[in-house]
């Protein structure tokens, strides 16, 4: 067993009366693409700030690459690449000026590590003199990632890199991360998009300062342990209200084009369809569904 890339023990952080992180423990392996999945306010950014040595925890400890985030922060800073939640480059400086600047902070030359950023920086090279502030969302992201990688860090901390970015750019971004994984860089990435969980090796689901579950996306989805069905009808809102009234339905919620129905042990889809027909929803169809991370989150968040 190699030493874990990130080891977190009983980490707690409070802001006044608000507990942002509540006794969190977590371990991330070297070379892993690890996802922190959770909505705004889950505590993801606080965790990042502690790991990036920007903030000390109130209690508990965290070590990255075997270095303590508080005691060994100087040594650690050389080896991490951090991309904060907001676009954090100088908008009034050009693409190349930004890259040069961040390279010089770490005392490296762009050429030394160009191979690492080449796959995505290539597209930016076409306009080296464009101001960073004038780039599109997707391009800004590529530049920010390039700047975070220019010193060839051993671990990359990406805090919600895909927030506010459209679906196409989001998907491209995950493709870029996949190429980095081959370079044996450990990646800790957070997102509020549950559907992005499947792009990670392992994930931790976070909510309100707690880690709800840790595991591979497939294992987590498989462990949902619920009797899950799809339900469709032309009148989805009517269907939703009707299903919620059925006693064998423990939960029912919208899920893309269908409704997801969580049935109790006694739930029978054919029987439910009949009951709905009696309620006047003649076209209701109910069939088994495969749950995913979002279903799990709804289940876990609902239980709190």
């Amino acid at each position: 067993m190699t030493t874990p890339a990130i080891e977190i023990n009983g980490l707690t952080k409070r802001y006044g009366s608000l507990t942002a992180l509540d006794d969190i423990s977590l371990s991330v392996n070297t070379g892993e693409m690890f996802g922190l999945i959770g909505p705004d306010g889950a505590g993801k950014s606080s965790l990042y700030r502690i790991l990036a040595t920007l903030m000390a925890p109130d209690s508990g400890s965290a070590s990255v690459l075997g270095l303590d985030t508080v005691k060994d922060y100087r040594a650690l800073r050389l080896r991490i690449g951090y991309m904060p939640e907001r676009f954090s480059l100088y908008p009034d400086m050009t693409v190349m000026e930004n890259l040069h600047f961040f390279a010089s902070l770490f005392g490296v030359k762009i050429e030394d590590n160009y191979d690492l950023i080449a796959p995505f920086f290539g597209q930016l090279e076409k306009f080296p003199d464009r101001m960073a502030g004038k780039l599109s969302g997707g391009m800004k992201q590529k530049l920010a990632l390039s700047c975070a990688l220019i010193h060839r860090p051993d671990i990359l901390l990406l805090d919600e890199p895909t927030t506010g970015v459209d679906a196409v750019s989001r998907s491209e971004f995950w493709d870029m991360l996949a190429t980095l994984r081959q370079k044996e860089i450990t990646i800790l990435v957070s997102t509020s998009y549950m559907d992005e969980a499947t792009r990670c090796g392992r994930i931790a689901m976070m909510d309100r300062g707690h880690i709800l579950r840790v595991g591979t996306p497939d294992a987590l989805a498989a462990g949902l342990g619920e009797n899950l069905y799809n339900a469709v009808s032309a009148d989805m809102f009517g269907l939703l209200s009707a299903l919620r009234k059925l006693p064998e339905v423990s939960d029912c919620y919208t899920f893309g084009a269908t409704l997801h129905v969580v049935g109790s042990d006694r739930f029978d889809s054919a029987e439910a369809e009949r009951r709905l027909r009696r309620e006047g929803i003649a076209d209701a169809r109910i069939y088994p569904a495969k749950g995913n991370i979002e279903d799990l989150f709804i289940k876990l968040a609902g239980n709190e």
Partner: protein, 248 residues
């Protein structure tokens, strides 16, 4: 065609900034009570188009009506008949829930009695009765979202524009919010919504996708999925948005 049947009806709507055409001759109709999804990649022109529809920006060319008012000449009237909610929620954190609601109601010129009645209605609708006197900064994000929605609709507008209302919000809250949208829509309010969550596009009655300033796809989610041989709106969006050529 009778324009009164439509909450929004625009033809050849165009906005240019210098030599850059942000919105390029878009034409579409939104029926009363419809939930209309307005999708597009970043920089496709969604925000600019939405600003024109809300009467915040004058079109360079084109004509149309929003809530029965002409977008070229009656922008002030439009503002009175619509509601707008942005991703930032635009609430006053230092005021209580009630104070926020009253403030927005007063801005729209509602009488004290109407405000009282509507507040009561809204609070019971949103299940927020016990939070009336809590400061907005102390309530959870899901409640802020609901309150922002209530503030945008307290004056019972014909149309409510929602600009990425669910960004970063957890899956449970997101779903509750959409149920709220369904409810106001069933009461006859038109909902015009943008989102980055493509599963939410499935909840819309009709969806348009903007690419490079134009609307290149507009239909019900089912029709779009079969047209593009896709299983989900997410796939549809990717196929359509990849046609973009605009140098971003």
């Amino acid at each position: 065609m009778n324009e009164d049947n439509y909450a929004i009806s625009v033809r050849g709507l165009t906005k240019r900034f210098g030599s850059f055409t942000a919105v390029d001759h878009i034409s579409f109709d939104v029926g009363r009570g419809e939930i209309f999804g307005f999708l597009g990649a970043n920089g496709a022109g969604k925000t600019t188009a939405m600003r024109m529809l809300c009467g915040l920006s004058r079109p360079t060319a084109g004509a149309g009506t929003v809530a029965g008012c002409d977008i070229n000449t009656q922008s002030e009237m439009i503002k009175r008949r619509i509601g707008y909610m942005s991703q930032k929620f635009s609430l006053y954190e230092g005021l209580t829930v009630t104070e926020n609601l009253r403030l927005f109601a007063t801005i729209y010129g509602m009488s004290d009695r109407a405000i009282r009645e509507q507040s009561n209605r809204v609070f019971s609708l949103l299940d927020m009765d016990n939070m009336r006197d809590t400061l907005v900064k102390d309530i959870p994000v899901g409640w802020k979202q609901k309150l922002a929605f209530a503030s945008a609709t307290i004056h019972r507008p014909d149309i409510v524009f929602l600009d990425e209302p669910t960004g970063g919000v957890d899956p449970v809250t997101r779903r509750k919010f959409w149920e709220l949208i369904y409810r106001v829509s069933s009461e006859g309010m038109t909902v015009f919504v943008t989102t980055h969550y493509l599963d939410e596009a499935e909840y819309c009655n009709r969806v348009s996708i903007m690419v490079d300033g134009r609307i290149t796809a507009l239909d019900t989610p089912e029709a779009l999925k079969s047209e593009y041989h896709a299983d989900t709106m997410d796939q549809v969006f990717r196929i359509v948005a990849r046609q973009a050529t605009r140098g971003e």
